[in-house]
């Protein structure tokens, strides 16, 4: 890959979508629906959240009008790309009774060829984390793999951070540095509106050839870098990850878990919005006559009772044990299991917790209590 970067004018953005669609991609990206910026199929630049931004804090999300016509002037919403790569509900197989035996019917999960438009750096890291979960090692998830292999990724660097963002703490952003086909930085400067485009793959280079693009000047690249650096200074949250695995392992009986359990609704929202949470359950269903059966996979959560149900009851019956399981897996045992943190600092679990439980605050409370007790020694 050459290090050459390009400029696409804001008015030519539609041509990028057109080029991808002509190549047979289903273009999915941000759009305004139900009071939020969600990910859905987009055909036209008009489907994008033009002139909108999101204001976020614990348990609070509001769309606000911007004073410009930015296409990507928001951070992240309630959806993540996992809804496309790891669908919330998926039929795995069907079977039909055949005398005393049964036959498995062929699975017709035709996975679309997606082009993701507007993937943030934290989200790229989340996709890479799910890659490790689903496509690494002995057991490959064929459904995830089929979708993942075909994806074209248009990343968008963040030039502003949200109220619950902490990618800088997790070293996952705000600049996209891996795994994209194209990475854009949106620049609005007075009347000028353009994208600085970095090419990540051959596939990306092919698409760029089909879009009006001119070579970027050093000045353009510098402006883009400055805007991204500014976003890095705006993080709404911070998480000190120093020795975090051992910090949490040392504090499995910390009173803070009891305290957070009084607030936690164990509603599972944090796990559903998390771009790395991958747990599922399977439901076996039959038809009324008992001649056909189907196995359906659905997103599940460690916050449900059924999740840890074994003969005799649920292993994690208390809200305390369920919250502790989630947080310590995300930030500590994930490292043992997959070699990285399970958290990318996107802030979704903070924003979309109905009662504003804040993962960074919970870790801070535990860390500070240790520091206080050390001082007391």
């Amino acid at each position: 890959m050459s290090d050459e970067q390009f400029i696409i004018e804001g008015t030519d953005f539609q041509k990028l979508l057109d080029a991808l669609r002509q190549q047979g991609y289903t273009t999915v990206g941000p759009t305004v629906r139900d009071g939020a910026i969600v990910y859905d199929e987009i055909a036209s630049v008009k489907d994008l959240p033009i002139g909108w931004t999101d204001e976020q804090d614990g348990g609070r999300y509001r769309l606000q009008k911007r004073n410009d016509q930015a296409l990507f002037g928001y951070v992240v919403g309630p959806h993540s790309w996992k809804k496309f790569l790891h669908p919330p509900v998926l039929s795995l197989w069907k079977a039909r009774k055949n005398g005393k035996s049964f036959e498995i019917l062929p699975n017709r999960n035709d996975s679309p060829r997606y082009a993701f438009i507007g993937v943030r750096s934290c989200e790229l890291h989340a996709i890479f984390i799910q890659d490790r979960v689903f496509t690494n090692g002995k057991f490959i998830d064929p459904h995830y793999q089929a979708r993942r292999q075909k994806v074209f990724i248009v990343a968008v660097n963040c030039v502003q951070a949200g109220g619950t963002c902490f990618c800088v703490s997790m070293k996952t952003g705000p600049k996209a540095t891996l795994g994209f086909d194209l990475a854009l930085t949106e620049i609005i400067d007075g009347q000028k509106h353009y994208f600085v485009v970095e090419v990540g793959t051959e596939k990306g280079a092919e698409i760029i050839q089909r879009v009006p693009a001119k070579p970027a000047q050093p000045n353009d690249i510098q402006i883009a870098e400055e805007r991204i650096a500014r976003a890095a200074q705006q993080m709404g949250r911070h998480l000190d990850t120093t020795d975090i695995k051992n910090l949490l392992y040392r504090n499995l009986e910390h009173p803070r878990w009891d305290e957070v359990a009084t607030r936690c609704l164990n509603c599972a929202n944090c796990t559903m919005v998390c771009p790395t949470c991958f747990c599922t359950t399977v439901e076996d269903v039959t038809d009324l006559t008992g001649t056909e059966a189907e196995r359906v996979r659905k997103w599940d959560s460690c916050f449900t009772m059924d999740f840890s149900y074994i003969h005799g009851g649920s292993v994690r019956a208390s809200a305390k044990s369920r919250y502790r399981q989630w947080l310590t897996h995300k930030l500590a045992s994930w490292i043992d299991q997959f070699g990285t943190s399970g958290c990318v600092g996107c802030g979704r679990c903070i924003t979309w917790c109905p009662v504003a439980i804040d993962i960074t605050e919970e870790v801070r409370a535990i860390r500070e209590s240790e520091q206080v007790s050390k001082k007391g020694e």
């Binding site: 009071g35 348990g59 009084t262």
Partner: protein
């Protein structure tokens, strides 16, 4: 399947609006399959033809509100192998359980010209308070797909796929942005059992709690957040006193705010 072997099913009504048993008739596409798989032996809403008991499956709608019904449910239990209660009345006492928070004799004296003709109990109670129940299907009304799933599971001798987690899980699976977070709309979803398919939030309304309390509901935390959203004590009491007012977690929460 030979006709003689088809399981006999009965549908019983107690104090209720009939909406849940109508869900069975509302099954439309699936109704023929249901009628083919079972022998609908007693279902007055659908047919006057009555086949005598005993019955393999009894679906019971409604709550117990009169001394007569308190006796009748014992008879239903006696003639039923499996007894499945359907809907908020049968599983929690229903909207008529609002009487449980007041003196029912006062109502009778105000409402009826001849109160002495009225024979009623002090409280409206769920079926499980009176007889052993094999499965409780929640909802006001029940979800027809869940109803078929339960019948289906009993016919095929498997566990029904009826999760007890929150409505939030259904909202998230269908991609509905949280109305409480994105709009500040008070919603009972985080303490309410899934099953409806998360209908109300998809139409920008908060959940009304039709399916009753979820497993391990944290009503105290949710109420505290509603107060921050600007909901007053009086409205909090009313929110928890809906169709599942007498389900214990909702009852306790409404009483906590009523007593303040």
């Amino acid at each position: 399947m030979p006709k003689a072997k088809r399981p006999k099913i009965a549908v019983w009504k107690f104090a209720s609006c009939d909406g849940c048993q109508l869900s069975l008739l509302d099954c439309e596409d699936e109704l023929l399959a249901v009628a083919g798989a079972v022998d609908i032996a007693y279902f007055l809403e659908a047919s006057r033809a009555v086949v005598k008991g005993p019955y393999d499956i009894s679906l019971v709608e409604g709550s117990i509100t009169t001394p007569h019904d308190a006796e009748r449910i014992q008879e239903v239990r006696r003639v039923s192998t499996f007894l499945i209660t359907i809907g908020a009345c049968a599983t929690a006492g229903g909207i008529q359980a609002l009487r449980n928070f007041k003196d029912v004799k006062e109502f009778i004296s105000i409402v009826y010209a001849k109160p002495e003709y009225i024979s009623t109990l002090d409280k409206s109670t769920p079926i499980a308070d009176h007889v052993k129940v094999d499965f409780e299907l929640r909802g006001c009304p029940v979800n027809k797909y869940q109803l078929i799933e339960v019948i289906n599971a009993f016919l095929n001798r498997r566990k029904p796929n009826v999760p007890t987690y929150s409505v939030c899980v259904e909202c998230k699976r269908r991609g509905t942005p949280c109305v409480m977070v994105a709009r500040g709309t008070p919603c009972l979803g985080p303490v309410t059992q899934a099953g409806c398919g998360a209908i109300c939030p998809a139409y920008h309304r908060g959940c009304y709690g039709c399916f009753g309390p979820k497993e391990t509901p944290n009503t105290v935390s949710l109420s505290a957040w509603w107060r921050k959203l600007g909901v007053n004590d009086h409205d909090l009491v009313r929110a928890f006193r809906g169709f599942n007012a007498y389900a214990e977690p909702f009852r306790k929460e409404s009483e906590r705010y009523e007593q303040r």
